[in-house]
């Protein structure tokens, strides 16, 4: 008993010690770890989130997702609309002491455009990157590209000499076993310097003493200890027991628990991600339905019936525990092209849906398979289960097939599903990004995620025109036209926008960032 008491006393002392040790140390946990330290080798949320603490792009999105200057101080198209001029910040140094110059920008962007880079698709409009002088860079696009800056917010700048001398001029080529020091070490210009890292275990960052942004950002966090904790029960426990200060990905069933705990607070905001169902509207007959020789989903009345048979409010209340924003369009509210009219979702109306089914000649309903992921979105499988019940009310007997994401997404890519769930975030914050992947006919370059087989030559040419239209008025009009067709045809069944929740010590001042990317240089503590 005595030893037990001693043990308790010791651990209490230890816990207290952790609490007092250093108010500026932030212990941060989320479900996944960054995959690599090479800033151009993966195009993935947690990887970018960690990279943003150490590397910097020319311009970045702040905590409310507004574009602000980072390594560039100003940018604008020149007289030639195909050429953008970027003025670079002066006096910036890399962690290793090297000066930041135009050469580094040219080098980094070209590196990110190489075949082994995961970022190349975001830069596919770029023809050339040129140095004008030490603090000016010109980026020439193939056609005029009014959205160029939106594509640069996750494109990190590396030091050219450091990268070349480490033998990683090109991003890692996994196929050829290309292992290189840029996967394991960091030399950026960012607010934090890499101290140590163990994959899937712990990453420690220390504040950059020579950071250019001193005085401009709060920079109250001097040390970041980042731990991925995969299991959501453990992640929440770690926050409740005070072992971490901030967690992302709070599971919806634990939100109340975190909010009610003394000393903890919840920060909530809509996420840049819409959840919806796609339908095969193009094929003459479906493999996965019970109707022979016809495709019931090709009939707009059937799609409309499905659209109004889904009770989005019920999904929000029951499945999502109020943590979602139901929507009538497959676009989060931050995106250029979003309007309240598009966002308004149709009233839930089973009677009308049934009569539409009758009208279309499917009064007795039909059977259909719904493919759904079970480890990708918040409560993904439960949403699908709810939809199965709702569609059953209008006679559509849905057979649910829920699989892990690694097996689900290839079904969409390979056009092997007729009815599927998908979620979509828009990193460029512009409708064109949605159209390019989800609406355009599938070709070598575009429409890679369009599992609906929807194909409309007129819409395709309108989508392609967006890439080089410099007149913003005309461009926005085209975007609105395309949305009108997409909505009128009911190609997708929108469900909701996800809501992000971060749980944290209540002494922390930190709003949720819509892209789920915490930038710790903005974090401050309540005094």
């Amino acid at each position: 008993m005595k030893t037990m008491l001693k043990l308790t006393a010791a651990s209490v002392a230890l816990c207290a010690g952790i609490g007092m040790a250093n108010a500026e140390t932030l212990r941060w946990a989320r479900a996944g770890d960054s995959l690599t330290l090479d800033p151009h080798a993966q195009n993935e949320g947690p990887t970018h989130a960690l990279a943003h603490q150490m590397y910097e792009p020319l311009l970045q999105r702040d905590m409310s997702a507004q574009i602000i200057p980072a390594l560039a101080t100003s940018w604008a198209p020149t007289d030639d609309p195909k050429v953008w001029e970027f003025k670079l910040r002066e006096g910036v140094k890399f962690h290793g002491g090297e000066d930041f110059t135009a050469d580094d920008v040219v080098f980094s962007l070209k590196r990110a455009m190489m075949p082994t880079s995961a970022m190349k698709e975001l830069l596919n409009s770029i023809a050339d990157v040129r140095k004008v002088d030490d603090n000016t860079v010109h980026i020439e696009t193939k056609g005029p590209n009014p959205l160029l800056p939106n594509n640069l917010t996750n494109l990190f700048i590396m030091d050219s000499d450091w990268t070349v001398s480490n033998g990683c001029e090109a991003p890692q080529d996994i196929a050829n076993g290309g292992d290189n020091p840029c996967v394991r070490s960091v030399n950026g210009t960012g607010a934090y310097v890499l101290e140590s890292r163990k994959q899937d275990s712990q990453t420690i960052l220390k504040q950059n003493e020579n950071y250019w942004g001193k005085g401009e950002f709060p920079l109250e966090v001097t040390e970041i200890i980042y731990t991925p904790i995969q299991e959501s029960a453990t992640r929440v426990s770690a926050l409740l027991s005070g072992e971490v200060d901030l967690i992302q990905d709070v599971p919806v069933q634990d939100l109340a628990r975190v909010a009610e705990t003394d000393g903890l607070a919840l920060s909530t905001a809509p996420q840049n991600r819409t959840i919806f169902f796609g339908m095969n509207v193009g094929d003459a007959d479906l493999g996965s339905d019970t109707v022979d020789g016809k495709n019931p989903l090709a009939d707009q009345r059937v799609r409309e019936a499905m659209n109004i048979a889904i009770n989005r409010d019920a999904i929000k209340k029951v499945v999502m525990r109020d943590q979602s924003a139901p929507t009538g369009v497959i676009m989060p509210p931050f995106v250029n092209g979003w309007t309240e009219e598009l966002d308004a979702y149709p009233a839930y109306d089973v009677a009308k849906a049934k009569s539409l089914m009758e009208e279309a000649g499917y009064g007795d309903g039909f059977g259909l398979t719904l493919n759904c992921p079970n480890d990708r979105y918040i409560n993904d499988e439960a949403i699908c289960q709810a939809a199965v019940g709702m569609l059953g009310q209008i006679g559509i007997k849905v057979n649910l097939d829920a699989k892990p994401k690694a097996q689900h997404f290839p079904l969409i890519k390979n056009k092997e599903t007729d009815f599927y769930m998908l979620g979509w975030g828009v990193p460029t914050f512009d409708s064109e990004y949605i159209f390019n992947y989800l609406t355009h006919t599938t070709t070598d370059k575009l429409g890679s995620w369009n599992g609906t087989r929807f194909s409309n030559a007129d819409i395709d040419s309108k989508i392609e025109s967006l890439a080089s239209e410099t007149d913003i008025e005309v461009r926005n009009q085209t975007i609105s036209d395309i949305w009108n067709t997409v909505q009128a045809e009911t190609i997708y069944l929108p469900i909701h926008n996800q809501v992000l929740n971060w749980g944290m010590k209540d002494a922390i001042n930190f709003p949720v960032q819509p892209e789920d990317q915490p930038h710790f240089k903005f974090m401050s503590f309540k005094k």
């Binding site: 043990l7 308790t8 651990s11 209490v12 816990c15 995959l35 690599t36 080798a41 195009n43 993935e44 075949p115 995961a118 698709e121 975001l122 890692q172 080529d173 996994i174 196929a175 050829n176 076993g177 290309g178 292992d179 996967v183 163990k198 994959q199 899937d200 275990s201 712990q202 731990t227 991925p228 904790i229 995969q230 299991e231 029960a233 453990t234 992640r235 426990s237 770690a238 409740l240 027991s241 005070g242 072992e243 480890d375 699989k403 892990p404 994401k405 690694a406 097996q407 689900h408 997404f409 290839p410 890519k413 979509w424 992947y437 599938t442 070598d444 370059k445 575009l446 890679s448 995620w449």
Partner: protein, 323 residues
């Protein structure tokens, strides 16, 4: 003896080849690694190009022999998920799993043995019955629940032990180990108990029933009749003869502790090979999965060999008959 070992090694190689082949034919059902590797902006052309470069278009048998040929040279490729050489990633993680397995093995064997002997000797005692009943919990509850319950009790409510991670490590002959630091040891307690609880119960029940069996035999009665002390009878004569089946089971169980610590490691975010494997599965990281399964094969084969050799030292009859 030497011939025996050589024969067993030959069998081992065949087992490993079979394990490799079975796992390779399973991979195509696990999903598509390209999805995770390329990100959502990838075009149809990008996919085709990467698929070709990775050789995922080749027939499975070609991929399999390619893998084996490189594996024999010690080259397991580069992880699709983290972009580091697979051999290095696994070697980096193995100490964490081994030390956890070691501690939970020590816990399971020592406690299992003591409780097993105790419940056998005091067959109808209140405490013995109580232990037997509660031990059912250990076998019937899933590991995941036990882990979450322990975290809830000892981390969240009592605040005594860490709920995740490995704590501080110390380098011993170039290998980072947590078992030699106070912080690391504290971090190991909950996962080690979670991992070892099932094995502890199993060993305890096995020891108990073996003990009861032996205590009924004639030579024990004769020993008692000779007037030997209860202590000498129980521990000197009875216990020794329960060891053979216990060692077989313990050995095999140790293999499964090492190989299948997956759930425990992911509940406690213990950075070992189990956690690596579960991540590899969800990412369809084929190089890591194939190397890991091969490693598991090697572990089982080695443990079986050691167990077979241990028989010779424990049971003198075996060495007599082999001579």
């Amino acid at each position: 003896m030497l011939a025996f070992i050589i024969r067993r090694l030959g069998q081992a190689l065949l087992v490993l080849m079979a394990v490799g082949f079975v796992s390779f034919s399973m991979f195509k059902f696990m999903g598509d690694p390209l999805e995770n590797m390329l990100g959502q902006e990838a075009t149809v052309a990008d996919r085709a190009e990467l698929e070709e470069r990775l050789g995922l278009n080749d027939p499975i048998i070609v991929q399999y022999f390619d893998f084996f040929e490189r594996a024999l040279r010690g080259d397991f490729g580069v992880s699709y998920r983290v972009g580091l050489p697979v051999g290095e990633v696994i070697l980096d993680r193995l100490p964490a799993t081994l030390e956890l397995a070691f501690l939970s093995g020590v816990f399971a064997i020592s406690l299992g043995f003591v409780l097993g002997v105790y419940t056998a000797i005091k067959r109808d005692g209140f405490l013995a019955n109580f232990i037997m009943t509660t031990s059912l919990i250990g076998v019937s509850l899933p590991t995941f629940l036990i882990g979450v319950f322990l975290i809830w009790a000892f981390s969240v409510n009592l605040g005594w032990l860490p709920s995740f991670g490995r704590g501080e490590t110390r380098s011993v002959f170039g290998v980072d180990l947590a078992i030699f630091t106070w912080d690391g040891l504290r971090s190991m307690i909950l996962p080690a108990v979670t991992l070892g609880l099932y094995q502890m119960t199993l060993i305890m029940r096995l020891v108990r029933s073996e003990m009861l069996e032996v205590l009924r035999t004639d030579y024990i009665r004769f020993a008692r009749a000779r007037g030997l002390s209860q202590r000498t009878v129980n521990f000197g004569h009875a216990m020794k003869n329960t060891l053979v089946p216990v060692i077989t089971v313990t050995g095999l169980q140790f293999g499964s502790i090492v190989a299948f610590a997956i759930i425990t490691e992911s509940v406690f975010q213990w950075p070992g090979v189990g956690l690596l494997f579960i991540n590899a599965v969800s990412f369809v990281d084929i190089p890591v999965m194939s190397a890991y399964l091969l490693l598991v094969g090697v572990i089982f084969v080695t443990i079986n060999l050691i167990v077979d050799l241990l028989y010779f030292t424990i049971d003198p009859r075996l060495s007599v008959s082999s001579n």
